[in-house]
């Protein structure tokens, strides 16, 4: 009898909560309620694999045949371009290579930088104009920028892009080095530059290992009439995986 007073408030609270819960649930799109799609699924929050159209976009342009490369870990043996996916080995080799795995993981960052550097170097080799250089440098820098600001494993740190600095960067690349840039540098042309030197593998790679680019210092040679490259005790055979060139460590 004494405790009968406060009955209206709990009822109103319960009714209000119910209404709010129902409205809240029904007003959200289904995919958002269940964590599919939306900003987190297709966008920045996704921690899964990254995709390129075969590295240079050549594998795109065909709705019926997707030959994109995925760089999302160490399991994809022949995925191209992204270093983190390049050091896969054949099963009989991988079992005995715990050290190699550790090396691979440690090398991943350097290899990333090397890949970017090699891209720029190759771009320099084939470039038709200074403009294309600048465009590439800017694009490459932007890609590196993503590491600092969006949590990508790309090894960019700080650098610059655009104008004469881009040209200087391209010259620097010729020595097998890489650089990145902060996002701000796209707006502010002059920023401190950091150069990261790449290191070649210190031990022979297991046969079947594929790399998207040659290790630094690899030299062209011929074995039994076949073109290949030699670096640190390993022969690398160039192979087209679809439209993308990869280098396979081979006994030759």
């Amino acid at each position: 009898m004494i405790n009968r007073k406060p009955t209206a408030l709990p009822r109103m609270t319960a009714t209000g909560m119910t209404i709010l819960a129902v409205i809240g649930l029904l007003s959200m799109p289904a995919y958002a309620r269940f964590g599919r799609g939306g900003f987190g699924g297709g966008g920045f929050g996704r921690g899964g694999g990254g995709f390129r159209m075969g590295g240079d976009g050549f594998a795109g342009g065909n709705p019926s045949h997707t030959a994109w490369s995925q760089h999302s870990g160490y399991s994809s043996r022949y995925s191209s371009y992204h270093p983190s996916a390049q050091y896969g080995t054949t099963p009989h080799q991988s079992a005995s290579n715990a050290n190699q795995t550790r090396y691979n993981e440690a090398q991943s960052m350097n290899q990333t930088r090397y890949s970017e550097a090699q891209s720029m170097q190759n771009k320099h080799y084939q470039s038709q104009s200074a403009l294309s250089h600048q465009q590439y440098n800017q694009a490459s820098n932007l890609q590196s920028n993503s590491s600092g600001h969006w949590g990508d494993p790309y090894g960019g740190c700080c650098g610059s892009s655009g104008g004469s600095t881009a040209g200087a960067a391209a010259v620097g690349m010729m020595g097998g080095m890489a650089m990145g840039a902060t996002m701000e540098s796209a707006v502010t042309p002059r920023q401190p530059t950091t150069v990261v030197e790449n290191v070649a593998p210190s031990a022979p790679m297991p046969y079947g290992t594929t790399l998207p680019y040659l290790p630094p210092g690899a030299t062209p040679t011929q074995v039994n009439g076949m073109d290949c490259y030699y670096s640190n005790g390993t022969y690398y055979r160039p192979v087209f995986n679809g439209s993308q060139v990869v280098y396979v460590a081979s006994p030759m």
Partner: protein, 292 residues
């Protein structure tokens, strides 16, 4: 007793309502996944109504066995394009391309490329492709297909059948080699195009670089694509956008076409490999090698 903030019946009522709401949302989600009236997600399937309206493409059932649903107007435009391109003895065109690169974090970057294609039907093809991230050249002379990668200074050649169509099929099946825009290069283009289309919708007359175009939308299993074709005059493609809807962040590959030229005299040397000195001969990775 009503000492707490919620009585047991009220709490049960809330649970009941929540269960109902959950069931409703689950059914919505299932409908979304199967395309049975649920709200489609993604830019390529943006309609909620089961009855499509112009510019509003509804994703078909996920089954690949579904009968293609293609608007009559779409068929007409596409047939005209096919006839125009496949009936030309020789054909050259230029494409300005942009393509997305999705980083592991999900950040999407866009790069550019340019591609020049020359076709001499039925068995000659040459492609020169240069992008921000690399380059390729392809020569096919009815006997041999050669692919050259200038960045890697490597090339590979493979014996090929004596028609463009058969060559495309062989290199796709055996070498996992996909040629950009090969749909425009086939001798029998329409047969190929219709093979994979699940749904084709006429979107409307829309602009590409100041030119009125018939805007078509297509849904396929792996990718959705849009095609813009001259609304008047020769039915030539002006633009294509391919959305790889099953890949994270749904990257797109876009090409804007120009310099369509037909029945010109194309020198035989155009289809012969032009390899610089010092390039390295590579091989194609075989299917067996891939499976290892």
């Amino acid at each position: 007793m009503r000492n707490g903030p919620l009585s047991i019946p009220t709490f049960q009522l809330i649970l009941f309502v929540l269960l109902l709401a959950t069931e409703y949302t689950c059914s919505q989600a299932r409908g979304d996944a199967t395309g049975s009236g649920g709200q489609a997600s993604g830019p390529s399937a943006a309609a909620a109504s089961p009855e499509p309206s112009p510019g509003n493409i509804v994703s078909p059932a996920a089954s690949t066995n579904a009968v293609p649903v293609i608007d009559a107007q779409v068929r007409k435009v596409l047939d005209n394009v096919c006839h125009e391109l496949s009936s030309a003895g020789t054909l050259t065109y230029h494409a300005e391309i942009t393509f997305d690169s999705v980083l592991p974090s999900g950040v999407k970057l866009q790069y550019a490329a340019a591609m020049d294609t020359a076709i001499k039907r039925p068995d000659h093809l040459a492609i020169n492709y240069k992008s921000d991230l690399g380059a390729k050249a392809i020569w096919y002379d009815g006997k041999t297909l050669t692919v050259y990668d200038p960045a890697h200074r490597a090339y590979a050649s493979v014996a090929a059948p004596d028609s463009i169509d058969a060559m495309f099929r062989q290199v796709a099946d055996e070498k996992n080699l996909s040629i950009p825009l090969e749909g425009f290069d086939f001798n029998d283009e329409c047969g190929r195009a219709y093979r994979d289309i699940q749904r084709g919708k006429y979107v409307g007359v829309n602009d590409v670089n100041g030119v009125d175009c018939d805007h078509l939308g297509f849904i396929q299993q792996e990718a959705d694509w849009q095609l813009w074709v001259n609304h008047s005059g020769k039915p030539l493609p002006q633009k294509i956008v391919i959305t790889y809807k099953n890949l994270p962040a749904q990257p797109q590959w876009t090409a804007v076409f120009s310099n369509w030229r037909f029945n010109q005299n194309l020198a035989a040397s155009l289809f012969q490999p032009k390899l610089p000195k010092g390039v390295v001969q590579a091989s194609f990775m075989g299917l067996e090698e891939k499976k290892q």
